[in-house]
């Protein structure tokens, strides 16, 4: 599974792995949603550290999880976006909805 999920207390962390495109998104989405439904967290963190590629399917995934967390009154954080991933992400304006933590990555594509 290209996503590794762990729940600690009320925090659900979903660590994405490999490449996130239209093909990969379906299984990842289901896995995260199933765990949200059973764990009812107050904070959902999607961690992009081990993701090597993302296209706009990733935006769909994040937007969908934003809606889902809103429904249950939880917060959504996005963590460790590489320059390539951040560049795709910022096209969506998701920064206005969720906290993005770029982690150790320098924001070199922010131009």
């Amino acid at each position: 599974m290209p996503v590794n999920i762990d729940v600690t207390g009320e925090v659900l962390t979903a660590r994405l792995e490999g490449e996130l495109d239209h093909h990969a998104a379906v299984a990842i989405r289901q896995e995260i949603d199933n765990t949200i439904d059973s764990a009812r967290p107050t904070l959902v963190i999607i961690d992009f550290r081990n993701l090597t590629f993302m296209d706009s399917s990733g935006i769909g995934l994040v937007m969908g999880r934003y809606k889902k967390t809103q429904e249950i009154g939880a917060e959504l954080h996005i963590a460790n976006t590489s320059p390539q991933i951040y560049k795709v992400m910022r096209l969506s304006g998701i920064e206005r909805l969720a906290v993005i933590d770029k982690g150790g990555y320098k924001n070199e594509t922010n131009k």
């Binding site: 490449e19 495109d21 239209h22 093909h23 998104a25 989405r29 590629f53 993302m54 296209d55 706009s56 399917s57 935006i59 769909g60 995934l61 937007m63 969908g64 320059p83 390539q84 560049k87 795709v88 096209l91 969506s92 594509t109």
Partner: protein, 147 residues
């Protein structure tokens, strides 16, 4: 203008081929020694174009996606992604950010990504005949170092 090198890749519209398509294009362009950012931009744009063929043009049925990658003098790369699918009735509308006809979780940002990650984007489409997306990018002329 004639390209100095060119490759044609025809693939079936299986979603598992999305990753193959972008990696194949990136491999061909590697001969120009592009920056990592340029490679990533091109991979992302190709991924969007091919996904459009799979999701929209062929609506998940299996048919052929035709990709041509041409390299021109002065480090210009041109990528054409063509399908013989349903075509787009209103290209202008389809290119608006956040517009999508697909349900589920498509963000409607495919063309916006292609537009912002490449230098030029043109979309020609005929209802019922198919769509041709042409994208060009000028790669940078950076000083070659051994490091």
């Amino acid at each position: 203008m004639k390209p100095i090198n060119e490759v044609k890749i025809n693939l079936l519209s299986c979603s598992s081929n999305e990753s193959f398509a972008r990696v194949a294009v990136a491999s061909f362009i590697a001969q120009l020694d592009p920056t990592i950012e340029e490679i990533n931009d091109i991979k992302t744009a190709v991924s969007e174009a091919v996904t459009n063929c799979i999701v929209h043009a062929y609506k998940e049925r299996i048919d052929t996606v035709y990709i041509t990658v041409s390299i021109f003098d002065n480090r210009v790369v041109k990528i054409t992604v063509r399908d013989k699918g349903c075509g787009i009735d209103d290209v202008k509308k389809a290119m608006e950010p956040l517009f999508t006809t697909a349900g589920g979780e498509r963000a409607g940002l495919g063309f916006a990504v292609m537009e912002s990650f490449m230098d030029k984007l043109s979309v020609r489409s005929k209802s019922g005949k198919g769509t041709t997306v042409t994208m060009t990018k000028q790669l940078s002329f950076r000083a070659r170092s051994n490091g």
